[in-house]
Amino acid sequence: MSLRPVLALLPLLALTACGGGAPADKPTEGGGAPADAGPKTQGTLVAAVQSDIGYLGSVVYEAAADSQILTNISFPMVDPEFDCSLKKSPGLAKSWEWSDDGKVIKMELRDDLTWEDGKPVTVHDVAFTYELIADPVVASPRLSYIEHAVDGKFPLVVDDKHIEWHFDRAYDRDTQIAHVGMALMPKHVFGDADRKTLRGNPNINKPLSYGPFRLANWKPNESFVLEPNPQFTGPDDWKPHLNRVIFRVIPEYSTRLIELESGKIDFMESVLVEDADRLREEHKEINLVRRGWRSNDYVAWNLSNPLFSDKKVRKALAMAIDTDQIIEKVLTSKTGESYARRSVGTITPALCGVHNNDIEPLPFNVQKAQKMLASVGWKDSDGDGILDKDGKKFSFTLSTNTGNKRRANSAVLLQAQLKQVGVEMNIEQTETNAFFENLRKRDYEAALGGWSAGLFVDPASVWGCDTEEKRNEFNFTGYCNPKVEELISKGLDTPNPKDAAPIWKEMQAEIYDDQPYLFLWWMDEIVAIHNRFDNTHIDMLSRLNRLHEWEVADDKIKYKR
């Protein structure tokens, strides 16, 4: 059969034909000589990420990988630091000051930054970026940034170096600054772009850098690479020390873990507690860093369900649950190190000035719980082990999402604990998208879910009442407490964070007393990083914060080229 040799060659042809993906274009217009060389670069960091790039435009990005790249290919408007709260240092904005009424921020910008193609970064890029956000056709996920913007004056361009941001009301200054700190999109590239299909614009994923790194290569669904930006004209201490950062897209957790253990990747996020134990014992070359109280789990009670509409019942249920025991079984390592702490609200304890540390979590007390339930009529009158009232059993379904081992295990423990007080809880696992859809539609009885912590206080979305026009979709329980509404309003109207803190603390106490959620725990995320890297920053702001400062010492270089 003469076909055989040809058939044998086909795969080889395929191998050579499968070329690379889309290397980002090198800057086409000469922008003059590249900026100063900066420090000698050496070493490579290989990181694993769960999913690929989506869109690399600050106005339209959504994916986690997008945020990672955008942060490193731009120079921040204000340089953030998180230490109990978001602190800001000058970045692209050299200085800024508030008007007396707190409704206007006057900013002076640096004029020495350039885009990769040599064109200068100007106030017009800033204005253009916010114009894109405001344009409803773009459908930007950042619309909340301009919620209190005065049309046409957000920003108002005064001259080539000065702009003003006009708000229709004064609110928390940290939040205001966060809202004006977007990464920029170049006007000379996107000025004439069709805004309806902005996400599909061919220039979106060939972004121009004005920061310390540039996107050197992207192979869709495989990998993307950041390299130092030779055209970067910013401060010298921002110039990178590494040769490159390679991101490999690996969707499966166990694959990432095995790559980490084989030394093929250097960085991995969200390591499970059990695996962290093993890594600590078997791989001394891997550092495990605790990132901070970044996310929590809770049980949401659907307040329109007659079972849960009484505060006393919710408090009783909270006292029937031994949360500490669940933390011990699910979130504590073999060596006794705990990676979770009790939660009393949706404001992270990392916001130390604002978090109400005085709230005592409801104690685990089965007798008291049973007494409270009995006091509102829940008794086991037919002796079947399940409480009943007026002929109805205390039985409900707890929904949670699939693919989350921690929540699956916790649900089983919750079920066992509630059985002790005569409450029957069934568990239902739904696919993640469907689960969140049900939460938004309030189509559930009780739900085991979680939130990611915000770095500034923004309680209206979760705890604000529904209004006539708009149902508050993220208020999953249907909670509405006029006192809390008032406190939220007052807090948002108090620009000085120190004055606002007591208001937020009172709000947290009030919400905790109402128990719309059974607040379970805040979790500490474990991030694994190879110990050859120095000057790493893995913190609340980002798992790969200040990448330009990460470096490898001469004697520890692994990737020599």
Binding site: K219, P220, N221, A434
Partner: protein, 343 residues
């Protein structure tokens, strides 16, 4: 024969339409929509209306269905809703990768399966036959993603650890170690491309990346192929013409290879055509475990984001592959067996 092929392809059209309609219905029935990810608590109502209108979600499903069919007549599969670029651009990024993996899988499955099956038949009812049968059954019954994880563990962790120890001990040079290291996931090492490694080095790297996923898929299928081959060869060697060949004094090897195996290959050819859907569906799990950027992962992502045009286009390609695979098997059958004639 050509008429036969054309007829088969024409019959495929109603099949494709049925599949597409069914998929459309399933997507409609599932909760949520592609626009959900654009809705944040702060999205004002006017913007919501605009987003819904943009994806034509305000129109009733039946209208959207017929609009889609009309576009399909002109082979216009539209733009991905989530990525806002032509659907086939996205598919052509992933399709070659799946085809490559499938080709390698076939290259592993069939030679291994055919060889094992033939040997089993020649040595049938011996202990070797029994042992290989059990082995084949084990491979066949194993969930292939479990096999994938085991391969990663052994080929990755243990193998890497072992050759690193040899390297430390001085038995293995650095260069040899880098050659022998097996990659655990992905299609290629991005490091090599970015530092401008030689085409030879990159080629070897890509070939190494094909090994584990290829074996993970191939070993599972080769078990069933061996079973089929064994029965086919057993049946063939009982035929009269085999006895004639032996009586003519031909070497036993010639009898088996030139006469028996060739005829026993007929059912295997049919099997090859039928295995196309399994290659694609098995690929979804393998592609996820090995981070292989192929159609399997693309379909999964499309489903999770409820990106209807992309889902429809993916299933269209899938159905087309199945039809073409079956057609190729039929035609190959006719080519190989002169008794078969199509009209």
């Amino acid at each position: 024969m050509v008429k036969y092929a054309i007829r088969k392809l024409l019959l495929a059209i109603p099949l494709v339409l049925c599949v597409i309609s069914f998929i459309f219905l399933l997507v409609e029935l599932s909760p949520g929509s592609v626009a959900d990810k654009f809705f944040t608590p702060e999205t004002p109502p006017e913007v919501r209306e605009l987003i819904i209108a943009k994806y034509q979600l305000d129109q009733p499903a039946i209208l959207r269905y017929f609009a889609m069919l009309k576009n399909l007549l002109f082979l216009d599969f539209g733009h991905s809703m989530a990525q806002e670029r032509p659907v086939f651009e996205i598919i052509f990024e992933s399709l070659p990768n799946t085809i490559l993996l499938s080709a390698v899988t076939l290259l592993i499955t069939y030679p291994v399966g055919i060889l094992l099956g033939s040997l089993q038949a020649v040595w049938h009812n011996t202990r070797t036959d029994a042992a290989v049968s059990v082995g084949a059954l084990v491979l066949y019954s194993m969930p292939n993603f479990w096999l994938a994880l085991m391969l990663q563990l052994i080929g990755g962790l243990y193998w890497t650890g072992w050759i690193e120890d040899l390297n430390q001990a001085g038995t293995l040079s650095d260069a040899a170690m880098s050659y022998l290291t097996l990659p655990l996931s992905g299609m290629a090492d991005p490091y090599l491309e970015i530092v401008g490694a030689s085409p030879w080095e990159q080629g070897v790297d890509r070939a190494k990346h094909l090994l584990m996923p290829g074996f993970a898929m191939g070993l599972a299928f080769s078990g069933s192929t061996a079973r089929y081959m064994r029965s086919a060869v057993l049946e063939t060697i009982r035929q009269d013409y085999i006895r004639t060949a032996r009586a003519k004094g031909l070497h036993e090897r010639t009898v088996i290879i030139k006469h028996a195996m060739r005829n026993a290959l007929l059912p295997i050819i049919t099997l090859m055509g039928l295995s196309v859907p399994f290659l694609f569906s098995g690929a979804v799990l393998i592609e996820t475990v090995f981070a292989w950027p192929g159609m399997g992962r693309l379909i999964l992502t499309a489903i999770y984001t409820q990106d209807t045009p992309l889902i429809i286009a993916c299933f269209f390609v899938f159905t087309l592959m199945v039809v073409l695979g079956n057609l190729a098997a039929d035609l190959a059958y006719a080519l190989v067996d002169p008794r078969i004639k199509y009209d």
